[in-house]
Every structure is written in structure tokens, then in C-alpha cells.
């Protein structure tokens, strides 16, 4: 359904999914349909968030970047050349913004420790929960040691596993480039760090 060229200009975006929905929402937003813009923000904010976090930004900075990317889109509503590739435009804009923010700064600590605070404490929890938490901590530390490129790729891969993000899966499935082998290497590195951290991979 994503291969043809449906006349999305004539179709209500509410009835669409994936690329067609993004394109129809963008086109509707251009003529002032705020509901369509709201729908885009709800649909695609998780994608921008994952990319920003995968680029090594802490949570607070990632929140700023998500909003900056949307404000940049709003200012450029009419100049996005390919509405069907909006998700791609957002990913590229997020990477560019993340790299601008990081620029001049020393490489950020690759261990995003701040998110660990959100993990439930092991205190007062049944032993099974404690184990789970230990395992989660080990996996989280291992993941945090990966290069940003790997963190982003694995986050996108994970996101693609959710049905509403089938367009990301589509993109990741593309034979172009070396996504497959690259992902394989990232997973291998993750296993390596897991072993070092003493977790079974």
C-alpha cells in the first residue's frame, strides 16, 4: 500500500496510516489544519525522541531538541520537498540538531546514567524483581557503552518492532547501504559489553 501514489490530497488523513498519513497531515497543516499538525506531533514525537536519545543527548536536552525539530518543521512546512518522506526529514533534522548541540563540547559521557534514576528501586521488592532490576542495570550499562550510531540504530530497530512504526521497519529493511551488517556488529558489541558486565547475553 506504500508503493503506489494514492491521491492523498483527496483523502482524509484520519483514514490513513504510515507514510500516507504523514504526507496527508503535512499537506493539511500547510493550509492551517491544526488537528493534522497535532496528529503529526503525537505520531512522530516518539521517533524524534528515540533518535535524540540515541545521539547521546541527556533527557532534558533531548526534550529541547524534540521541540526544536518540530518548531523547525513548522517554520518549513511549505519547503519540505517530499511529504511522504517526512519521518526521514525529521530523523535527519534531529541528528543535525543533536550534533550542533554537542559541537564544541567534549564527547558526552556515553553512559546515560540519568535514566537509571527512573528505574524502580530494588528496595522492598520481591527477589524476582530485584533480579530483574540487576539484569536491567547490566543491560542498560552495556547499551550505554555503545557508540551513538549503534544506540540510534538499535533504538530505531526496537521502535520498528511496534506496529505503529512500520515505516521505520520499512526504512531499516531497505537493502541500500549496510544497515543489516551494521546492526549485526552493534548487537555483537552489545553482547561483548554484556559479557564484560557479567550479564549473560
Amino acid at each position: 500500500m506504500s508503493d503506489g501514489q494514492p491521491p492523498f490530497e483527496d483523502v482524509d488523513w484520519r483514514e490513513l496510516t504510515g507514510y500516507e498519513r504523514h504526507a496527508a497531515c503535512l499537506i493539511a497543516a500547510r493550509v492551517g489544519d491544526m488537528k493534522a499538525l497535532d496528529a503529526l506531533v503525537a505520531d512522530l514525537t516518539p521517533l524524534i525522541w528515540y533518535v535524540a536519545r540515541g545521539q547521546g543527548l541527556d533527557r532534558t536536552t533531548a526534550e529541547d531538541v524534540v521541540q526544536t525539530v518540530w518548531l523547525t518543521l513548522l517554520r518549513n512546512l511549505h519547503s519540505v520537498a517530499e511529504p511522504r518522506a517526512l519521518a526521514n526529514w525529521l530523523i535527519i533534522t534531529t541528528r543535525r540538531e543533536a550534533s550542533r548541540i554537542r559541537g564544541g563540547r567534549d564527547r558526552v559521557d556515553p553512559l546515560p546514567d540519568d535514566a537509571m534514576e527512573l528505574l524502580p528501586s530494588a528496595e522492598g521488592l520481591p527477589e524476582v524483581e530485584t533480579l530483574r532490576s540487576d539484569r536491567d542495570r547490566i543491560l542498560w550499562r552495556a547499551f550505554g557503552q555503545l557508540p551513538y550510531e549503534c544506540q540510534e540504530l538499535l533504538r530505531l530497530t526496537v521502535l520498528a518492532g511496534r506496529a505503529e512504526y512500520d515505516y521505520v521497519a520499512e526504512k531499516l529493511r531497505m537493502p541500500r547501504g549496510s544497515i543489516g551488517p551494521k546492526r549485526g556488529r552493534c548487537i555483537k558489541r552489545l553482547r561483548g559489553y554484556l559479557d564484560e558486565e557479567g550479564g549473560m547475553s
Binding site: L37, D38, V41, T45, P46, W49, R53, D58, R59, T60, T61, E63, D64, V66, Q67, T68, W70, L71, T72, L74, R75, L77, I101, P112, D113, D114, A115, M116, E117, L118, L119, V128, L131, R132, D134, R135, D136, L139, W140, F143, L154, R155, T157, V158, A160, G161, R162, A163, Y165, D166, A169, L172, R173, G180, R183, G184, I187, L190, R191, S201
Partner: protein, 174 residues
């Protein structure tokens, strides 16, 4: 997937996913585990969509987006304590605002560099915008700004060699 339903740290066995990338089963298991962990440890902030929509409710779409200067040392503690001073920049413009508690919100004492008679608008979700103008030195004050999801909009006055510009910030919760 609800992570609290996982009985242990083991990946959800045999879980079906929309993801079919020709990965070996053990890789899929590790990724499923990672998916659950990300949802638990690094969720999308609850209010981010609402804040983003508020940030985008702008009349004039010819603006530049400013960057909040984050003190790295504060990373991780933000959200538990509101900052005393906030700073944002765009191009050669820097705006610093110091906050002091007021009866129904915060008093804003701000300073723009380079200075000039610029107009400052503070938008707080659910309230009328508070506006003021800076003096020639770039100083401005607002006696009482309600707390909440906040966005600052600066309308830079036209000055010698500089055209009028509008600068907007991402929202911040004050």
C-alpha cells in the same frame, strides 16, 4: 508491552513482533529485552507532546529557535528543583533570566545581550502571555509570571544594520 508483566529479567519468550529483519532468534530475544528496558528506563516524557503543541501555537511563523543553555551539572536533578537562572542563545543573542519566587509564580529579571528596546513575551500554558520591553541596556523585568509550561518569545527591535527578528524558545517547566 507492559514491562511489569514480565515475570523475570528473561526476554518475553516467543513474543511476536512486527519486526522481521531476518535476525537470528537470539538477537531478536536480546532486542525484545532491550525494547522492554527502554520502555521502562527511558520512556518518552509524559508531557512532551503537550509541551511541543503549546510551543507550536505561534502566530508569526517567521522565527528563529533559541537553544537553552543547560548546566551539565544540573542534568539529572532538573525536574526536582526549578532553576534560579535560565539562559538561552541564538546566533549572537544571549538572554539570561533570573527567577525569584513571587506570590503567584515567579518574578523575572532578565538581561539581553546585545541590548536594545526589544519586546519580551512570556507564554505560560493556560494563562495570558506576560509582555514587557527591555530598556536600551537590555534589562527587563516581569513582576509575576505564573508557573507552568513556559515559552519565551523575543521580538528583536530593528536596529542599525539589523532587521527585526523573532526568537522563540522550546518550552521549559518553571
Amino acid at each position: 508491552m507492559n514491562p511489569t508483566e514480565r515475570p523475570s529479567g528473561r526476554p518475553p519468550a516467543g513474543e511476536e513482533s512486527a519486526l522481521e529483519l531476518g535476525l537470528p532468534a537470539e538477537d531478536k530475544r536480546l532486542l525484545a529485552e532491550l525494547a522492554a528496558l527502554l520502555e521502562l528506563a527511558d520512556p518518552l516524557p509524559d508531557d512532551l507532546v503537550v509541551r511541543t503543541r503549546f510551543a507550536m501555537e505561534l502566530d508569526d511563523l517567521d522565527y528563529e529557535v533559541a537553544t537553552w543553555q543547560r548546566d551539565d551539572q544540573l542534568v539529572g536533578v532538573r525536574g526536582t528543583a526549578a532553576p534560579n537562572t535560565i539562559t538561552f542563545t541564538v546566533g549572537d543573542l544571549t538572554v539570561m533570566v533570573s527567577l525569584a519566587p513571587a506570590a503567584n509564580g515567579n518574578r523575572f529579571d532578565g538581561w539581553l545581550v546585545p541590548g536594545g528596546p526589544h519586546r519580551i513575551e512570556v507564554r505560560v500554558d493556560g494563562h495570558e502571555p506576560a509582555t514587557t520591553s527591555a530598556d536600551e541596556g537590555g534589562r527587563f523585568a516581569l513582576q509575576e509570571v505564573p508557573k507552568g509550561i513556559t515559552q519565551i518569545v523575543v521580538h528583536l527591535a530593528e536596529q542599525s544594520g539589523q532587521r527585526a527578528r523573532t526568537v522563540v524558545t522550546p518550552t521549559i517547566v518553571l
